[in-house]
Symmetry: D2
Subunit: 355 residues, 4 copies
Amino acid sequence: MSVNTFGRVLRFTTWGESHGPAIGAVVDGCPPLLALSEADIQPFLDARRPGTSKFTTQRREPDAVKILSGVFEGKTTGTPISLMIENVDQRSKDYSEVARAYRPGHADYAYNAKYGIRDYRGGGRSSARETASRVAAGAVARLAIPEVAILAYVSAIGGDAVDPANFDANEIGNNPFFCPDAAAAARWERLVDEARLAGSSLGAVVECVATGVPAGWGAPLYGKLDADLASAMMGINAVKGVEIGDGFEAARLRGEQNADPMRPGENGPTFEANHAGGIAGGISTGQPVVVRVAFKPTSSILIPQDTITRDGEAAEIVTKGRHDPCVGIRGTPVVEAMMAFVLADHKLLHRAQCG
Amino acid sequence: MSVNTFGRVLRFTTWGESHGPAIGAVVDGCPPLLALSEADIQPFLDARRPGTSKFTTQRREPDAVKILSGVFEGKTTGTPISLMIENVDQRSKDYSEVARAYRPGHADYAYNAKYGIRDYRGGGRSSARETASRVAAGAVARLAIPEVAILAYVSAIGGDAVDPANFDANEIGNNPFFCPDAAAAARWERLVDEARLAGSSLGAVVECVATGVPAGWGAPLYGKLDADLASAMMGINAVKGVEIGDGFEAARLRGEQNADPMRPGENGPTFEANHAGGIAGGISTGQPVVVRVAFKPTSSILIPQDTITRDGEAAEIVTKGRHDPCVGIRGTPVVEAMMAFVLADHKLLHRAQCG
Amino acid sequence: MSVNTFGRVLRFTTWGESHGPAIGAVVDGCPPLLALSEADIQPFLDARRPGTSKFTTQRREPDAVKILSGVFEGKTTGTPISLMIENVDQRSKDYSEVARAYRPGHADYAYNAKYGIRDYRGGGRSSARETASRVAAGAVARLAIPEVAILAYVSAIGGDAVDPANFDANEIGNNPFFCPDAAAAARWERLVDEARLAGSSLGAVVECVATGVPAGWGAPLYGKLDADLASAMMGINAVKGVEIGDGFEAARLRGEQNADPMRPGENGPTFEANHAGGIAGGISTGQPVVVRVAFKPTSSILIPQDTITRDGEAAEIVTKGRHDPCVGIRGTPVVEAMMAFVLADHKLLHRAQCG
Amino acid sequence: MSVNTFGRVLRFTTWGESHGPAIGAVVDGCPPLLALSEADIQPFLDARRPGTSKFTTQRREPDAVKILSGVFEGKTTGTPISLMIENVDQRSKDYSEVARAYRPGHADYAYNAKYGIRDYRGGGRSSARETASRVAAGAVARLAIPEVAILAYVSAIGGDAVDPANFDANEIGNNPFFCPDAAAAARWERLVDEARLAGSSLGAVVECVATGVPAGWGAPLYGKLDADLASAMMGINAVKGVEIGDGFEAARLRGEQNADPMRPGENGPTFEANHAGGIAGGISTGQPVVVRVAFKPTSSILIPQDTITRDGEAAEIVTKGRHDPCVGIRGTPVVEAMMAFVLADHKLLHRAQCG
């Protein structure tokens, strides 16, 4: 029930604000004897790291992770793994405007309404910077599910979608958009740059597929695999929608169109389709687990907007300085991390109950 | 972390199978001194009850709820409220076929893969019948949030959507589809009947709006109001997608289109739009909370499908007897119930931390 | 973290009041494929059942348990097991006095201070009657730990202790006190009868030993096996003290006296003593797990006591009718049940993390 | 349910090993707007700090706490408070012996049996050093319960108890034993020094009293205030017994001796005794909450003991270097911290349910 903790038997707790000295995660319940060092985590943080292209925020953070506990002689010990990432580029800028007025679309007003106080520097706790902690925790979780391969990519930006016929997993690392379609990546370069120069921002859709998940993970009825994935993904900053398998498209289909018929296979059943996205009744079926996530356009834009001050006066506000023209891009490694964590947690939970 | 328990400080635990003697829910953490009797719960169960029109399954269940504990002299006492609904119409039919082979799209195979056993009678624990327990629990939760009004309705069936211009809340109770648009209801009558007669089924979209939610509910970062709603909704049988506010549409927008500018109002701020669906940073903003839920078409159809038997042999299966041509319709009261429960839980959690 | 739920991955939730229609427990997370019927539970309820001798309360309850869910064709299915026990002997007596004034030592005043309301009939939720639900849940838990044998007995009543030299496990079932020392049982017969006739009551100490627990169960640092046992035992009605191994006596010893030296054995290490009660660092060592529990004398006595009314006026109160001269006796099966549940829960939790 | 997390709505998660770079705690769910700086925490850490007299271990640690998150402009923000304490005096000694063989009474063997690996340097995660994190978390919790005063003291060492007639709260800070009886403190000086010089150790009893707790805190039936205190205290390193109020002594009493009669008072009821230790039915009564905790003698003694090696061979082991002749002494601030945390958590939980 900890509100800054995610997970059931494998769990992480995150802490830290955008402009505090550091952020971090404590991973608890990790199986012992897994080989773990900073080098197992760093590549995932590097993928999420800001400032790597002109299409993401220009904040420069090395995002170097330190393991402070839970590892001995290169192996996990079963005790909590404390991960810390120091904040380096907390630019000493003037925060008086954001301290004074709420940025529409941001959590500013909501945090103030809830807590009566907010750390307004760089968004404080509500900053997307916190997702680095999730990525670090997800990297640990991956070690517990070596049988699973997880791949996320951006499937649309600003309504411009990839062409499934062009899908090439190898392409994903070749462009700054995690885009599996070279033609789309070329289009997005212009699209995102235009938005960036206009001081605007674009929404995006991220798709994530996990293969190798055996049948049987997920804990109905209120620990369903899809429900936990929905919670995991909707909790990522800027996410407004989550689909499993065909998602909303399934609501347009007839029963016979949406079926996933089964046939005998050499190693258990095979399926003739995967409308369900690998989950039935909240339990994995052995098919690839497919999740789709909608990111809204960043709220921090350089275009002035109507707002009010903390004192309730009308005002106009405009984000100054660094801005992220499409936050969904850097959301891709975060989606992967949350997928990894949910799956690892359910692997452990499944063997708790079912041996 | 109980897998058959939902909620944080207000919680319910459900139990029961489709064809066992009864189903039920235990509601824990309910504030004391709320007036509660069966009559406060029954209307919501009646709205969800099967067999009320030809557009839903013909199983006939009175769904009469009994309160077994937690109420004294007509008031809640703060102790667990045990709610029980007896199963009456467990038709003594022949289950040999469904015992032998898996129904594609159903949880049959997944349950077997997980537990090595399944109660195949009427779907057992994975039956939509269990959602009656959620509706009962949601009715109790409503008593804890008298300031909030919750309204759900079907906004599309089989891809045929209501016209927002025709929206009339009073219309919702006038048709068997929870449809707020009389014209759409008329079209759906033909559409659903056609599917029913063809032995097929249709997907649906349910929309739910909660008004009166004050700013400040929700517990970031891993107890965000939207994340908990996503978990609550994705966990409902047959649901494959969840959106908050503009949802996937937001991913097509630019930042300035998606903003919800603020203006000073007489009682706190007013907002010039509600793309966010009433939630920012995981915390309610005081605007209506808007959730949209995609239900797949029922998997139980009268059209034969390829499948395998428990022994792994190829087979063909067809659902016999009662079938539900559009399970999303009866999902509407379930969506309302889960919305009520999440909001009540967060009201209590908010006052735990913030007084 | 539900307050009427106990356990981590194996959990039970109880509900019900002393004079409501029924009480019950929902056991969640139970491994599938365990053979379970009412006959596996009933003997434990019978051992706890009131009215079996003149040394316990004269309330007559058959305490017949019904399984309402979670079992199919004689086996657990992995879904929640709902257990219900109907209340039969809710004597229709006059409760006006206990409604008016608080019984010292009872929970009457505290419940009223907390909730502003209390079901005063027979103690409502705070009645020891609820422990029947724990016993039923514990009986299910035993099925998950066939490798463990659990034995509890009363080791002292009113300060009169058994002589360890006389310990005979077979004697426990031969007297109405769960006493392992025939000579002590004979003394207690007079002692308890005297207290009963005087309208007074006596405290007791219950000791519980679990053998067959392998090394490795327990989840430090805040899910330690001893901490969970302490919570489990202290939560039983009338319990005021819990010891593991030597307990308070250990505080009188020197380090060399309290050591449990180890020697090589045929199947892992052997220990030359068991001061620790089978737990070190919150983890089982493979030695017998030993817990000792202090029950206070029943507060309901026939001797008038000073108290106040709900309106704050001075008053005198005396318990009328049935009374339990030594509640610790019937606490013995409850202690066993909680031991079983904690161990089963930790067995599952251990295999979640450590495979 | 995180195993390294304690608490319900106010929670802390600890991490860190004795000889890692640092230890720490993340406090989650803390009310916002409480004034908090390192100076509010440091005095409690200083009280627990080792090396302050010859009667405790000679490890020298400044135990300087750093607040890494959750505080802005001197006030809590409602977000997680990350507290870190660097390990300074991890003496680079030779650990080959403790790596090779298990120390009897220590958690060495149990950790190995559970995890298959252990960080043997200074006890790793099972070191009492971790209790510094609890003390830091407890210091934060105190801010949430300004109405409560908490006082713990050592009431016996090695079986030599204080004389209640000599009790003087002001004396507690005047001696190195947290002893409220000057005469006992003088005796203990010789007693503990003798044990220290003999390379032995002594057990102790710590008593803790919380005054100002209003009636109504505690959440029956499985979140009872006494059950949570029992879990909190039994989970402290070296604790083997917990009593509430009269504890085991209550088991020797008759009902009329154990009663706490009530009388009308100016501000609610007064009680003529406090055998119950301020808790009835798991709920506070408004009387002082009294807990007594038994600490075993430290297992690390300079007297050789029989043991086995990791390979199962017979061996003899003796603790070298620093040793703590009476770990119960430094347990006193830890007991206070856990009392504070449990009470603060229940204050928040109570207002969640009861407003």
